[in-house]
């Protein structure tokens, strides 16, 4: 159990205010929030890397608020992975071993198992600079898991990866979590990540936790306009999956990869949907003809509602391009979006 009570941190321009969180042992907790909300600072506070002004942090019943980072049993994995550039991959992974009492045979076995699970056996003698993003990610995970921490903190582990890799690593994270007793604490701003991985979640805004609960709860019942806005993935459509195609009502939508279940949802951010008068000559695989049914003024942007057969898509268009395109209710438009813009859960 991670128990955070009234945690306060001042760090440069960041302020964490009265953070209260409880996370069950062995859970997969996801922290969401916009850039600058203080998510990384909260991670670093739990890891003991930034000074705490007030409040308390306990892990497994032990108060670690004032403990040294190396005595907390809390591992951290940064967004940029922070592998040690001067050490080989093998030495990166085994870096922490000497600080933990360990049985050689057990450690060797664990090392072998991690290397196998993560598929990094062929990298062991290379240096971090020669690895791809996905490989660095796996190595950083192996390094953090090698010392068997009670808690592992993951700072946007998937955001720097190619969309193709992201799904792999996401499944890997799920599997690693399932096979260990370690509590995972992950920061993300990707909802599909949160939905597939989290057992519980929280949304952070401006240095404070604004909502906690299950992801579905947060998603469906936001308790504040900020959260509602934050979760604003407007095009959420029930879908049946067949290979890399999702059938949404009468439409067939190309999706980036296979889905683990045969049915679920696809979600597309309104800003990822492009409207045009003629079919676009581009790499966008999903393109449909539709009719504009409504236009909502949103300040700098218009939210345009386009009905395509039995579905309605919401797209964000700048006022300038709305005028250029002559968009109006009743206009026939082409609705296009990239395969990679389709989120599935």
């Amino acid at each position: 159990m991670i128990e955070i009570r009234g945690l306060r941190v001042h760090l440069g321009e960041f302020r964490l205010r009265d953070i209260d969180l409880s996370i069950e042992d062995g859970g997969f907790f996801v922290l969401m929030g916009p850039t600058g909300a203080g998510k990384t600072v909260l991670l670093e506070a739990i890891a003991g890397l930034v000074p705490v002004l007030g409040g308390s942090i306990a892990v497994g019943g032990r108060d670690i608020t004032r403990s040294q980072p190396e005595k907390r049993g809390v591992g951290i994995m940064y967004q940029d992975y922070a592998l040690f550039p001067h050490l080989s991959i093998e030495h990166n992974i085994t870096f922490g071993l000497r600080y933990h009492r360990h049985d050689r045979t057990a450690a060797r076995q664990r090392f072998g198992r991690l290397v196998d699970d993560l598929g990094i056996g062929h990298l062991l003698h290379r240096h971090p600079e020669t690895l791809s993003g996905g490989e660095l990610q796996r190595v950083a995970l192996a390094r953090a898991l090698m010392v068997e921490p009670r808690v592992i903190l993951l700072d946007e582990p998937l955001s720097a990866l190619d969309p193709g890799f992201r799904e792999d690593i996401r499944l890997l994270l799920k599997q690693l979590h399932r096979n260990s007793h370690i509590t995972f604490f992950m920061v993300t701003h990707d909802f599909s990540e949160a939905l597939t991985l989290a057992t519980s979640a929280a949304v952070m805004h401006d240095g404070a936790i604004v909502q906690t609960g299950t992801v579905r709860d947060i998603f469906q019942r936001p308790t504040s306009s900020f959260v509602a806005d934050f979760v604003g993935m407007k095009n959420i459509l029930p879908a049946v999956f067949d290979s890399t195609t999702a059938r949404v009502g009468e439409l067939s939508i190309e999706v980036p990869h296979l889905h683990e279940n045969s049915s679920g949802y696809v979600a597309i951010r309104p800003e990822d949907i492009v409207l045009s008068l003629d079919p676009l000559e581009s790499s966008m695989r999903n393109s449909f003809v539709g009719v504009i049914r409504g236009i909502v003024d949103q300040g700098f942007l218009y939210e345009v509602h386009v009905s395509v057969r039995d579905q309605v898509f919401k797209s964000l268009v700048t006022k300038g391009s709305a005028v250029d395109l002559g968009l109006d209710i009743g206009t026939d438009v082409q609705v296009s979006f990239k395969t990679s813009a389709v989120h599935m859960f």
Partner: protein, 261 residues
């Protein structure tokens, strides 16, 4: 920048003037003494001793800077605190103070009239006219260069690497020894080069504190005063050659290409 523009030609001509200004006197000095004279100078015990003393005291100053300056450079690179700028300015002071003033200032605290001087004399440490005095002066003038070079080197090492190391169980010491230092060692070498280079060229401060034992710059000055240009040149050539060789070796060690950097 378009090649034909006047600005281009102005830049090129200024560049030539600057290079000539630096190289002409140096080349002239290096080529002036005949090889016979150079050889003869090398048999002069005083010359060899003075050059050795120069090199040895400069490296001693760099060594002291390394021991005392490394932790300070780390603190300055990593922490933010009130008065940090003040401390940084104090460290830079020896760079801006006129050299003879440095000598006088050091003698001021090393003399019998000062409590520090009294303690030192009771411990048998003498500054005036000793190798110890020379090393003290050279450390004073060279230390800022070491600290500043290493500080920027440590700043270039991501604190996240240290954070991860701590979270993996390493103490601060362990983290410094296994992460920060191995990643910043090039800056350590660069700092040592800068400190040595500054120390070996010091004259004004040393001549106040210790005319004897004679370091090379003092010997060169003395020969020039007593016998003229012709007799001081060979010594100068040898000092320059020794320094260049040493620094070249260190430089090569510090920068073995970008790949491993």
């Amino acid at each position: 920048m378009a090649r034909r523009e006047p600005f281009y030609w102005v830049s090129v001509s200024c560049g030539i003037v600057v290079l000539a200004f630096i190289l002409l006197p140096l080349v002239e000095m290096l080529t002036a003494p005949s090889s016979a004279m150079l050889k003869e100078t090398l048999h002069d015990k005083n010359v060899v001793q003075s050059i050795w003393l120069s090199v040895y005291t400069a490296f001693a100053a760099a060594g002291i800077s390394f021991v005392v300056g490394t932790p300070l450079a780390y603190v300055l690179a990593r922490s933010r605190f009130r008065g940090k700028h003040l401390i940084e300015s104090i460290i830079d002071l020896p760079i801006v103070i006129p050299h003879p003033v440095v000598g006088i200032a050091i003698l001021g605290v090393a003399g019998r009239n000062h409590w520090l001087g009294q303690i030192m004399s009771e411990l048998g440490i003498r500054i005036m006219g000793t190798t110890m005095g020379i090393i003290a002066v050279l450390t004073f003038v060279g230390m800022p260069f070491y600290i500043n070079a290493l500080k920027s080197g440590i700043e270039a090492v991501s604190p996240r690497l240290e954070n991860v190391s701590r979270s993996l169980g390493a103490s601060m010491w362990g983290t410094f020894a296994r992460i920060t230092f191995p990643l910043a060692w090039r800056s350590v070498l660069v700092g040592i080069i800068m400190c040595c280079a500054r120390a070996i060229s010091e004259f004004g401060a040393v001549v106040v504190v210790a005319y004897h034992p004679m370091i090379a710059p003092v010997l060169i000055y003395e020969r020039y005063e007593a016998y003229g240009l012709k007799y001081s040149q060979p010594v100068a050539v040898w000092l320059v050659l020794v320094c260049l060789t040493l620094f070249l070796v260190l430089r090569v060690l510090a920068l073995p290409g970008k790949k491993t950097a």
